[in-house]
């Protein structure tokens, strides 16, 4: 196998692109070209994102005005929104599918899938992924799982509604809620396929980064994007199989009468035969993926941000080695903190102490990253392109959302805010909004690379400023209703009077949510219009150092028409001065691409 792979690269090394002619199907549908696959991921991800965000608007309407009737429910929810009143089960289904879609389909596949595929071969100087075929299979499995997830919305008894964490017994017993019937079966099937897709993708990314780096591209010269994608893929390979096993056992409990997670249950007037299982076991298995998943979502966004902030600051990223070290530290710690989701699950309190300790440790590499970003801005020459703005926005939400993690990670404090809106506010800011900003930043920055055209910057500015205000407008007030003790996943907060005074805050949140969702249409318009009518992009619009900008604008199979570029330096030689210190290394040009050899009057750095 290895010799075969080796020959394959050797063949391609001096390939001048004389391939057999692509048909429409091999070029646009069953493509094995990483650039096309990345576009497929992006567009599928955006499509799922539209569904996910639309759902959030529906349940936000319900939360803000629980006693009003909205015909929009009837339009979108059919029989569950009859006469403009939302059914409580469908409310739970909406929050469940919103969570599932946003976490897995948008921010895992849509973000990491898009940019890992686009950037890994281009930035490490490879013709394509190690296995183009597996890459194609990975995308089509993702597509299949998306289709099944969307199909599950149309099941007669309703889609899965047990929360995106699908804790059994609720998710195991159709007697407990209608969504746990066929809807949950489809959810599990969809996720099983999704996991297969994610594993194929991740293995491919890891193999590619390890084996296919071009000459001179040592690990310490890799752009931070690649470090982030590489480590993300490793976390995925370590943790996704555990979710698969949990899903498999849940399927067994649901369909084949096993008792992995079920014991002593009396429901719908009868005692079930199940004995000896434990829902806490499921929680452990779920969060063994569930927590690393947060970093699977976040690390690619941080990698993208590192690259964009350095390029647009015209400065090297501050503390490259510390950044790599913190990515590794975060990745390692992320696999041993899952128990902080379970402080009050009934597990042994001593475990709670251990998980508090490891959880608060993770704040250290995160703090280092935040400080390094801020220092990178210091004394830069900031080019405030939309991508740069979203990257700065990411640092902002990463800090504000991350800080409240200090409260939630502390087992003693978690007791009273666990499962309240405080948690919702925290994780939306730190992983949801931050990762979305990373996605937007990536799209604005690499759009010229993907589609050969520029996106409109002014529409980008409008998109950014309204989004950034709106996102804080949504999630900042949520901390207060959380600290007021309001539990999440409540269909309405007016069933008893105690929370009546939170109604106004919920209205504020919903209004911000509607505005923020509406402005995403500006992005969508900009995205689609620019694909067809955008201004033609120059080869290196952002004056960037990384290798993807040395490839021609027109996409060709194999990326570079001639030999693969060789690498002589790290990717952050922005504004580097020559030995005399009177001009840049290359006179009049404040960047030195990675494929430029060391100049005569240049001091060599340790990269």
């Amino acid at each position: 196998m290895s010799t075969e792979a080796h020959n394959h690269t050797a063949d391609h090394h001096d390939d001048h692109g004389h391939h057999h002619k692509d048909t429409f199907i091999t070029k646009y549908i069953f493509s094995i070209d990483h650039k096309m696959i990345s576009k497929q991921y992006l567009i599928t991800g955006l499509f799922m994102g539209i569904i996910g965000i639309a759902m959030s608007i529906l349940f936000r309407l319900q939360l803000a005005w629980p006693d009003k009737q909205f015909t929009v429910y009837e339009i979108f929810l059919g029989k569950w929104g009859a006469e403009g009143i939302m059914d409580p089960n469908v409310y739970l289904a909406l929050v469940t599918i919103h969570g599932t879609i946003m976490v897995f389909f948008v921010l895992t596949a849509g973000l990491s899938g898009t940019f890992s595929n686009l950037l890994i071969p281009l930035q490490i100087g490879a013709r394509d992924m190690a296995s183009g075929f597996l890459n194609m299979v990975s995308y089509w499995l993702f597509f299949l799982s998306s289709i099944i997830m969307v199909m599950s919305l149309f099941v007669e008894a309703g889609p899965a509604a047990a929360g995106w964490t699908i804790y059994p017994p609720l998710s195991a017993l159709p007697q407990a809620m209608p969504g746990s019937g066929a809807g949950m079966t489809l959810w599990l099937v969809s996720m099983a396929i999704f996991i297969a897709s994610s594993l194929l993708g991740s293995l491919n990314y890891i193999v590619t980064v390890i084996n296919l780096r071009t000459k001179g591209m040592s690990m310490t010269r890799l752009p931070l994007t690649i470090w982030a994608f590489f480590v993300t893929a490793i976390i995925g390979v370590v943790s996704f199989p555990v979710l698969f096993s949990a899903a498999l056992m849940l399927i067994m409990d649901r369909s084949f009468g096993t008792s992995f997670f079920l014991s002593d249950i009396y429901i719908a007037g009868e005692v079930l035969h199940n004995q000896g299982g434990s829902p806490v076991l499921f929680e452990h298995l779920f969060w063994f993926l569930g927590h690393p998943e947060v970093y699977i979502v976040l690390l690619p966004a941080l990698g993208i941000t590192s690259e964009i902030i350095a390029t647009n600051s015209r400065k090297p990223i501050f503390g490259y080695r510390a950044m790599v070290a913190s990515i590794l530290a975060i990745a390692f710690l992320s696999t041993i903190v899952w128990g902080h989701h379970m402080f009050v699950s009934g597990m042994n309190p001593f475990l709670g102490s251990v998980f508090t300790f490891t959880t608060l440790l993770i704040a250290i590499p995160s703090a280092v990253k935040a400080f390094n970003y801020i220092t990178t801005l210091w004394k830069g020459n900031l080019q405030l392109n939309p991508a740069m703005l979203f990257s700065i926005g990411l640092v902002s939400t990463f800090i504000s959302g991350g800080l409240t993690g200090i409260i939630l990670g502390d087992s003693a404090l978690d007791i009273n805010v666990h499962d309240t809106y405080f948690v919702v506010a925290h994780f939306h800011l730190v992983m949801g909004i931050s990762a979305l900003y990373g996605l937007f930043a990536g799209v604005y920055h690499w759009f010229p690379r993907m589609f050969g055209r520029m996106m409109n910057k002014n529409l980008g500015y409008i998109h950014f400023w309204v989004t950034v205000i709106g996102a804080y407008g949504i999630f900042f007030p949520m901390h207060f209703i959380g600290m007021a003790g309001l539990p999440r996943r409540y269909y309405t907060n007016t069933a008893f009077p105690y929370f009546d005074d939170l109604a106004n805050i919920n209205v504020v949140i919903t209004i911000f949510a509607i505005i923020t969702a509406a402005v995403q249409l500006v992005f969508l318009y900009n995205f689609i219009a620019s694909i067809f009518y955008g201004k033609k992009a120059p080869q290196n619009p952002w004056k960037s150092n990384t290798l993807e900008w040395t490839a021609p604008v027109k996409h060709i199979h194999g990326n570079w028409p001639g030999p693969i570029p060789q690498v002589y330096r790290w990717s952050y030689d922005y504004s580097k001065l020559n030995k005399a210190g009177d001009d840049y290394v290359i006179a009049g040009q404040d960047f030195v691409p990675q494929n430029i050899p060391l100049q005569e009057d240049e001091e060599e750095m340790n990269h």
Binding site: Q275, L361, Y461
Partner: protein, 353 residues
């Protein structure tokens, strides 16, 4: 109030639209430059907006604390709750301190160093000293928080019983709570869902002699100043016994017994006299009165005035009526509690009336 908030948000939206207009106008001036790459004008304009955003951020922060602190939970009504509140306060102050400074630096730098023609960025790739400082400071601060947090946690989760502890079982099922007091012997009888039948709603094992004096109730009454040990069971799916006023929460898990213990310190009557609580209840009743005006106009039934009570809420998604699964908690003096308890029928009496 809602009207005011809506107006505030609309004003903000109008400001946003006005900003967009500015951007459009700017794009008109720069018609010759359509590279879609930020130029000096874009950098200056967006740099300024960074400062305006910072202002918005701080104003929003202050507004939030000024306006919404009144909706937060009142002082903790349990002994350990005061420790949690103190730790929360310390963490919150720390977070706010770091937040205000880092957001300032981030946005101020984004404004200060916005790109200009001829401006040279400083090649500043690393500095071990600086990085050491901002690694070690979080290490020290977090070490302090971890140690403090762990001591508090260990104290809270220590549920050791002594003779004076009141043992109460909380029993959860879709979508109600029941409480079971252990009676004279202060020991709960054995129980399992397999015994659930008719009047025996929580599945008590009638053959266990300890069960005879158990008392099952639909409201939770606790004597003030006495440690209560809750033993929790669930009949069907996961639920969570969340008692926010006591800073207490524990999941109820089918197939196992979970525990949580606390000592209530403030009676319901005292809490109703708490000035913060009086203000909160007044505010809620004001809102309900406003709604009643609407309801009367429509000829519908009006809402009753609200009086404060402690609540036990379900805080783990458990099905369609999850949002309405709660139980009233009353904290009262030992005498009142004993008097109430004497009126209750024991399990033995329920079986053989």
């Amino acid at each position: 109030m809602t009207g005011f908030l809506i107006i505030a948000v609309l004003v903000l939206f109008a400001v946003a639209v006005w900003q967009m207009k500015g951007i459009f106008q700017m794009s008109q001036i720069n018609k010759s430059d359509d590279s879609q790459i930020a130029n000096d004008k874009d950098n200056r304009f967006n740099g300024k907006l960074m400062i305006w955003f910072l202002v918005f951020f701080y104003v929003f922060l202050i507004y939030g604390f000024w306006k919404w602190t009144s909706v937060l939970l009142p002082e903790a009504a349990s002994e350990h709750g005061q420790d949690i509140d103190l730790l929360m306060l310390i963490s919150m102050v720390l977070i706010m301190f770091v937040l205000v400074i880092t957001q300032f630096l981030l946005h101020y730098f984004a404004f200060k160093y916005h790109g200009k023609k001829g401006q040279k960025a400083v090649f500043f790739a690393d500095n071990d000293k600086l990085e050491f400082i901002w690694t070690i400071i979080p290490v020290i601060v977090l070490a302090g928080l971890i140690i403090y947090g762990l001591f508090t946690w260990t104290d809270i989760m220590n549920v050791s019983e002594d003779e004076d502890t009141l043992v109460v079982e909380l029993y959860a099922k879709q979508f109600t709570w029941e409480a079971r007091y252990s009676g004279q012997d202060n020991t709960l009888g054995e129980a399992n869902v397999r015994f659930v039948e008719g009047m025996n709603t929580v599945g008590i094992d009638a053959s266990d002699p300890y069960s005879t004096d158990d008392v099952v109730t639909r409201e939770l009454r606790l004597p003030v100043g006495k440690k209560v040990l809750f033993k929790m069971r669930s009949q069907d799916v996961l639920h969570s016994a969340y008692m926010p006023h006591f800073r207490a929460q524990m999941n109820t898990v089918p197939g196992m017994i979970t525990q949580f213990a606390f000592t209530p310190t403030i009676t319901t009557a005292e809490m109703r006299q708490n000035p913060e609580m009086i203000a909160k209840v007044e505010n809620i009743n004001q809102l309900r009165n406003d709604k009643n005006v609407e309801l009367t106009a429509k000829g519908e039934e009006t809402l009753e005035p609200y009086e404060f009570d402690y609540l036990l809420l379900c805080n783990k998604i458990c099905g369609a009526s999850h949002y309405n699964m709660q139980m009233k908690i009353i904290v009262e003096t030992q005498e009142d509690f004993d008097a109430w308890m004497a009126e209750q029928t024991t399990f033995g009496e329920t079986l053989n009336p």
